[in-house]
Symmetry: C2
Subunit: 319 residues, 2 copies
């Protein structure tokens, strides 16, 4: 049996993309199905499993796949389950043993974790963290996710849900309300939605002109702020400075916890790295505990956006 | 070779205690030397190594000791070195390869880590964390130290200095000045000195009577606050409530990071557990992210104070 490949599944809120990956991180074959439109997890797995089996047989890969790795929202690596994923109705009230169900229909061993942990494994196997044993991946998307690797292993914690760094409390007084029901969580400041909130606040409080003031018929997004910054808009750049300051202060505490060799920014907002990295480095340098000064690299994911999630998930299957 | 025993060394600022430990955590033989009065690390190791060799030969334990584990201030497990330990002059300007030097003089493999990491290993081998793979030990002494275990392994980080949770920033505005040069560090609130600082602040700001007001000829200590609480002193109990609140808020963030099965309080101030545990549990229950609610046990170290440090250090040698 030449098990030269693994299969990675990225379960997003809209689509579920999957691909066959070789040991060097090339995605050789890929396909996708819709994530939405199923009444139950069984229906979803039936469609997904059939599509995977079809991709495998079409490319004559029977018995050549070592296993399946899957990144799924609120995925629990210990249990191989998902539950209470915000945009997937059939996870609302039941804990779905997704990994086991996929194994049953494909005959392949399936491991599952959340998206940020999958990203961390992807960086370790194929990306910016190759050769590193201690690092943190921060995913900057709608929210802020995190995948922590210590001693070469994912930190998943006792019950499989460790590493919710987006819900570290950054601002203890008058913090922004968070979807989790608490106040001042990091992700209300450092995320795509956090940037948009900061933009709204800045525009209200401040007087100066800005390209962002021209957007009146719809809510401002982080992309608007990015595009304005690209035009040299001073306020937009200050919005990123503020975001970097909030994230940087939190990163100082994360460094104090796990002493990482690198912190790697991943996801949509990380593409604004030209506005984030320099102020982030400055904030960390000025605020981190002295014994850590200059020791933690700040990097941006080198994995291509569309492929990163599949690669990250597939890395689980090599473990 | 029946290597049934290990030797644990607890290097304190005043004394260095060491003992031969069996697999069940019994200290069979012990001795100590002074930590102070040496001009160089070589002199210290000479005296320590001779005392260890004497203890071994006196008890006919040649070839029965598997190795040596040492807990030392600012000990670096990766390198086996200590440096810049606050009260040990010969570590001020040079990095001392203590583990290597002890191996040379005793012929026994020596591993070294900082006190809090040693405490964590001790709890895992002999104490409250037996059988656990994910937990955090918080040492509440003059400062606040921490030993973090994830996946059954110490989190030491890239350079060996991870886990300085006492220097997480708890209060970002108007925080108390910390010895590290920054402001608002957790240990300025939650430690023996933190309790004493809180006592001074409370006595200044508040009007009500308290047993603590009778202490005028010397600085108030955390022990004074404990004794006053034992007498039912309302202000003293509120000082512990405040301490527990500050520590509890920080623990919520630590739980978010590593998802531990338990947090174990260790060290002098942990003895005030009757005033700390109940409010701590309440603060955590009210403030932790919902997916962690009710999952992390809050425990007090079961290891006897005088023995805990030797046991903790010795646990390193079983690894």
């Amino acid at each position: 049996m030449n098990q030269l490949y693994v299969l990675g599944i990225d379960m997003g809120a809209t689509n579920t993309a999957f691909g066959v990956v070789d040991a060097r991180g090339n995605i050789l074959f890929r396909d996708q199905i819709s994530t939405t439109g199923y009444a139950t997890g069984e229906e979803y797995v039936q469609v997904l499993g059939s599509a995977i089996n079809a991709l495998i047989s079409k490319n004559n890969l029977q018995r050549k796949i070592k296993g399946i790795g899957m990144g799924a929202p609120n995925g629990n690596m210990h249990e191989g389950t998902i539950e209470k994923a915000a945009n997937i109705p059939w996870t609302k009230t039941v804990v779905v043993p997704l990994a086991k169900m996929i194994t049953e229909i494909t005959g392949l061993n399936c491991k599952l974790t959340n998206d940020a942990n999958a990203a961390a494994l992807g960086e370790m196997s194929y990306g910016a963290a190759r050769g590193m044993k201690d690092f943190i991946v921060i995913t900057l998307g709608t929210g802020l996710g995190s995948g922590i690797v210590s001693n070469g292993q994912l930190v998943v914690g006792y019950d499989g849900f460790a590493g919710e760094l987006g819900h570290s409390i950054l601002v203890r007084n008058n913090g922004r309300p968070c979807g989790c029901g608490r106040f001042g969580c990091l992700e209300t400041y450092a995320s795509a939605t956090g940037v948009a909130r900061t933009a709204r606040e800045f525009l209200e409080i401040r007087q100066e002109d800005s390209l962002l003031r021209k957007i009146t018929c719809r809510p401002i997004t982080s992309k608007d702020v990015f595009l304005a910054a690209e035009e040299g808009d001073r306020l937009a750049i200050e919005i990123f400075d503020f975001t970097a300051r909030m994230l940087g202060l939190a990163l100082c505490d994360f460094i104090t916890f796990s002493g990482p060799q690198a912190i790697i920014l991943f996801g949509g907002l990380a593409h604004a790295d030209k506005y984030l990295l320099e102020p982030l480095r400055k904030v960390i340098d000025e605020n981190v505990l002295s014994i850590y000064k200059g020791k933690t690299q700040l990097l941006v994911s080198g994995l291509k956006g569309a492929e990163a999630a599949i690669l990250g998930a597939s890395a689980l299957a090599w473990e």
